[in-house]
Symmetry: C2
């Protein structure tokens, strides 16, 4: 049997989920800094030491939440992409960007957990790298689907960038020209720059009506990666 072994195993995954749920609740309420293992345990009616049977440390709990958060934004992006499948590539790109922003606004603390300052001197655990790539893959897919041979005139690559551009291209999108690969990675980072600035308060007293602003900026980003307004 590959199914659950018994009552004990089932209980374990249920409790693990309950811990993550309660932790997520506290995260949403107070932020990552104030997430307290003892408070989680208290709320769940257990004693703090019992919690260490499920997560070896507070950081491991946080890592689990990080993975879940990456999966959540990734899923939101994938859903948006699927729903806009019939639309023109540039509209689809914009829809995905808007979905990412919407998820971020709905889950600010979880967003901060993954795109804010990571614990410094800390290298991302292996578990996080695959989920972290999901949004990027969605964007890649849209651009790849739209790339019809030699559509757009991309700015020429400076010589110093050529080797790196080749590397990025072969690693990520071997079927697209290197200049596009570079533009894509840059647009990906810039998208989260827009979201982060809005979420982290840098737009206070600068941008008031943020939805149209973001939409226009995201659309522009799409044009930067070769998606044409015409379709």
């Amino acid at each position: 049997m590959t199914t659950v072994r018994g009552a004990r195993a089932r209980a374990r995954i249920e409790i693990t989920a309950a811990i993550k749920d309660e932790a997520r609740t506290q995260l949403a309420a107070e932020g990552a800094a104030k997430l307290s293992l003892r408070a989680v345990a208290r709320e769940l009616g257990m004693v703090s030491s019992a919690l260490y049977r499920y997560f070896p440390s507070r950081d491991d709990l946080l890592t689990a939440l990080i993975v879940d958060a990456y999966d959540a934004v990734g899923a939101a992006a994938e859903r948006a992409s699927a729903e806009a499948e019939a639309e023109r590539p540039l509209d689809r790109w914009t829809a995905v960007c808007r979905a990412v922003r919407a998820w971020a606004l709905a889950h600010p603390h979880e967003y901060a957990l993954i795109y804010g300052s990571p614990v410094p001197g800390y290298t991302a655990p292996q578990d996080t790298i695959a989920p972290a790539a999901r949004v990027g893959l969605v964007l890649i897919d849209i651009v790849r689907g739209a790339h019809t041979g030699e559509g757009v005139a991309l700015p020429p690559l400076p010589d110093a960038l050529s080797p790196e551009a080749e590397r990025i291209s072969t690693d990520l999108v071997p079927d697209l020209p290197p200049a596009l690969a570079v533009a894509l990675v840059a647009a990906w980072a810039q998208l989260f720059g827009l979201v982060s600035f809005e979420l982290f308060g840098q737009f206070q007293r600068v941008v008031e009506d943020r939805d149209p602003f973001f939409t226009a900026a995201a659309r522009r980003l799409g044009q930067d990666v070769g998606l044409l307004p015409g379709g």
Copy 2:
């Protein structure tokens, strides 16, 4: 006398500076999360309660460090802009972007403090808003200095964005066209998206040779705000 009143006042500003210095050291070593008032006090040979004569709380100490950090990046950007004053606007823009990135790489924890996740539900103290604007002002200056009437063809503004574009323009750069103002704000946010992604590890296994990549992206950003490669 408007000068220092006496030994006591002089001592106060010296001790305040010493506290900030030591705090900055700990920040650089371990990150904001592990910055401990008690450890700072210990290192300075005083008792923790004495420290509260200078900063009413840990958050106030952090706020002071935030202001200093904003001033530091701002100063770095201004310096770069001044040094590149003779160059073509696009090169000057790129130089400023590179200076921001260089400062961030040199002071990762301080960068994270200001452009990473701010304590959520938290609104920036009044003291931080002026220093926070410095980098943006430098960028504005370069673009304004380069704007010669009707140089570039900016993409048309969607209707939904027009009112907000007017607002941003009159607030920030009344002498430039609204479409340019919007592009400028977006480029500003996108610049920090690039820096943050590099610093926070999102480029791991994606971009290896980051200097030319960043330079090209920053240059592209400059073109997005109407700076021409030709000069």
